[in-house]
């Protein structure tokens, strides 16, 4: 009898443990976004690259991918969960040295016609110089690609198995690269995306009956929600702060002066201010170096400066787990020397992150200024997603307004803004004109430590219309901020 009771107890205990492990597993799988771990293209060849080039290629990767299914149906991916960029790089690598490759100019209409059929359009946030491309694909010479100065879009069309298309949209230059490798993998890739759960986009022309082929999501995505985050750098954690400081000043901090301010900020200063690092109480990092005439006066090419900026970011903070990408390159001049400002964005949970910085909303919280051969300033303000397992609790679903509802609610204000800078437009046609000037509609996360709790990012809609960017709270439709382009 005693033995029987013991066995019964063991059985019950085993069942309980088994049930508990299933429950915990279920919560773990729900928390981790599936498309990060499930291979979506089963036959995709994994490209082996050396670590440095791989990291640079990842940061230079596109910020969005437009998937055109044909028949007016589209979707936009804000992260490369289907490994599209590596496939594109592989096409460039394979076709680079082929003898039968030729590059011709095409017109914008041809590009727009191709978008109507099954295709993938890769959008970079910056203009990629072909010198940088040759670095990514590990080629020393530019070869036939010298014909193209730079590009910010790539189009892979299923209508054409042996060509790819590139464009420098800002300069209105469009090219076809004939003789590129076959694009069979992309057919399967588009099918995989089509059979998955994707957010549907249609052209504004199909929604409003106006002349505008820019895309708009028609429903709010039910899968996205506010997320909990943690500061990348906790200024109160001595160990973490010193680890960051060592990346700038070396292992030995004995010759570096350290100042702790009453608000929790920490400042490290080397010498008489030759180098200074500040981590404020919010976790924002700012680093400056005094201009070294010898280094700053050197003339380096933009692709060399880009590589320098990316290497600097990777050495001081890295981009692991935050989907960081280069967003913009701008020239600047200081003390008669020429340089470049490299701005980087990042994403969490497959959405771009916007943050409030000095009262403005920006999408580039990482910035590197390169003057000649010297990095003279570096700012960084990143949050990382908090991974927490909540036992037997459902993910909190946030109700968000669709972009159509947002535009409808705020249309009188938007129209008023448009009328101020377009006085010649008549009252009868102004509504159509406003809708025709919608350039982009995007959802993202908003980090505002002033208004929100520090550990939460809420959802916002970012809508560019004419010369203004509007930021709306996705839950209430309220305008948070607007800025001029």
């Amino acid at each position: 009898m005693k033995n029987f009771n013991r066995e019964k107890f063991k059985t019950i205990l085993l069942i309980m443990l088994f049930t508990l492990s299933i429950a915990l597993n279920q919560q773990l799988w729900e928390k981790i976004s599936l498309d990060k771990i499930t291979p979506s293209v089963k036959d995709t060849e994994m490209i082996k690259m050396d670590n440095d080039t791989n990291n640079i290629s990842n940061i230079l990767s596109p910020q969005s991918f437009i998937i055109n299914f044909g028949g007016g149906l589209h979707t936009i991916l804000h992260s490369d969960s289907y490994n599209i960029w590596n496939e594109v790089v592989e096409i460039f690598r394979k076709s680079y040295s082929l003898e039968n490759v030729s590059i011709d100019k095409i017109d914008k209409e041809t590009w727009m016609d191709l978008q109507k059929f099954r295709s993938i359009e890769v959008k970079l946030g910056y203009n990629m110089q072909t010198g940088l491309l040759s670095k990514i694909i590990q080629q020393k010479k530019l070869g036939k690609y010298e014909k193209i100065e730079g590009f910010d879009k790539i189009l892979i069309s299923l209508m054409d198995e042996s060509s790819i298309y590139v464009a420098d949209e800002k300069s209105n230059h469009y090219y076809v690269i004939n003789g590129a490798s076959k694009v069979k993998n992309f057919e399967k890739l588009i099918q995989n995306i089509e059979h998955g759960n994707y957010e549907v986009y249609y052209a504004l022309a199909d929604i409003y009956g106006i002349e505008n082929n820019n895309l708009m999501p028609i429903e709010g995505n039910e899968d996205i929600h506010n997320i909990e985050v943690v500061k990348e750098i906790d200024p109160l954690s001595e160990g973490q702060v010193e680890a960051f400081a060592r990346t700038f000043f070396g292992e030995n901090l004995d010759f570096v002066r350290k100042i702790r301010e009453t608000n929790g900020s920490v400042i490290y200063m080397y010498g008489y201010g030759q180098k200074a690092l500040k981590i404020d109480h919010k976790g924002r990092l700012q680093y400056v170096e005094k201009i070294d005439e010898g280094k700053a006066s050197k003339n380096i090419k933009i692709d060399e400066a880009t590589e320098m900026a990316i290497s600097f970011v990777l050495e001081h903070g890295n981009m692991e787990g935050i989907n960081g990408y280069l967003k913009a390159i701008k020239p600047f001049e200081e003390e008669n020397q020429k340089g470049y400002i490299f701005s980087f964005g990042y994403g969490l949970n497959n959405l771009p992150v916007y943050c409030n910085y000095n009262g403005k909303i920006i999408d580039t919280p990482i910035e590197v200024k390169v003057l000649g051969e010297q990095v003279i300033s570096y700012t960084r303000f990143i949050k990382r997603e908090k991974v927490a397992i909540k036992l037997l609790e459902n993910q909190e679903q946030n109700y968000i307004l669709s972009s159509l509802q947002i535009i409808d609610m705020n249309f009188p204000m938007i129209q008023k803004d448009y009328a101020k800078t377009n006085e010649e437009v008549s009252q009868e046609s102004i509504t159509d004109k406003v809708l025709e000037s919608v350039q982009s509609i995007e959802i993202g996360y908003y980090d505002d430590p002033i208004r929100l709790p520090d550990n939460e990012l809420s959802l916002i809609w970012v809508i560019k219309i004419d010369k203004i960017v509007y930021y709306f709270d996705a839950a209430t439709g309220k305008l948070l901020w607007r800025s001029s382009l």
Partner: protein
């Protein structure tokens, strides 16, 4: 007494002038809705054509009059039409009066959209209908390929030689 009359008259003049100036300066935001009894109560933006070569369709309409609209979609079968969506009240929004709905997972066949219209007094008006046909993508592509006239290599070579 005179003073009181003059003061009252002055106040009336000032108020009258202000309201006239204010009314002249007022420019209402032009709504996209033009209340025009001669136009159809709704304009169907999408679907544009009659043939849809996708498993989903975007229905987009603009309400042009001060009416209440509800949408039903039927699949036309041999014996009887099957209701596959609705009736759903068309949510017009506040400013632009647009309504959108995407219908997914449609099988090949003929469909009919029916917009039931009611004026603000609750009286029904003539419904507006539009039909469209959903075609299977693969079938449509194969049919298109078959419609292309077949040529053989000999013909092509003859053409090339003739041109030379």
């Amino acid at each position: 007494m005179n003073r009181k009359i003059i003061t009252s008259a002055l106040i009336l003049v000032i108020l009258g002038a202000s309201s006239v100036t204010g009314h002249a300066a007022y420019k209402p935001v032009q709504s996209k809705v033009n209340v025009n009894v001669n136009k159809e109560p709704i304009e169907i933006i999408s679907p544009k054509g009659d043939i849809i070569v996708q498993k989903s369709v975007l229905i987009s309409v603009q309400v042009r009059q001060n009416v209440s609209v509800s949408l039903s979609v039927y699949k036309e079968e041999e014996k009887e039409d099957t209701l596959i969506f609705g009736p759903e009240k068309v949510d017009q929004g506040e400013s632009l009066k647009f309504y959108n709905k995407q219908l997914k997972d449609l099988s090949a066949g003929k469909y009919k959209m029916v917009f039931d219209i009611m004026d603000k007094e609750g009286n029904s008006k003539d419904p507006i209908t539009k039909s469209f046909t959903v075609k299977d993508k693969e079938v449509e592509m194969n049919e298109t390929l078959e419609r292309i006239p077949k040529t053989n290599v000999t013909n092509i070579l003859d053409d090339i030689l003739d041109k030379k």
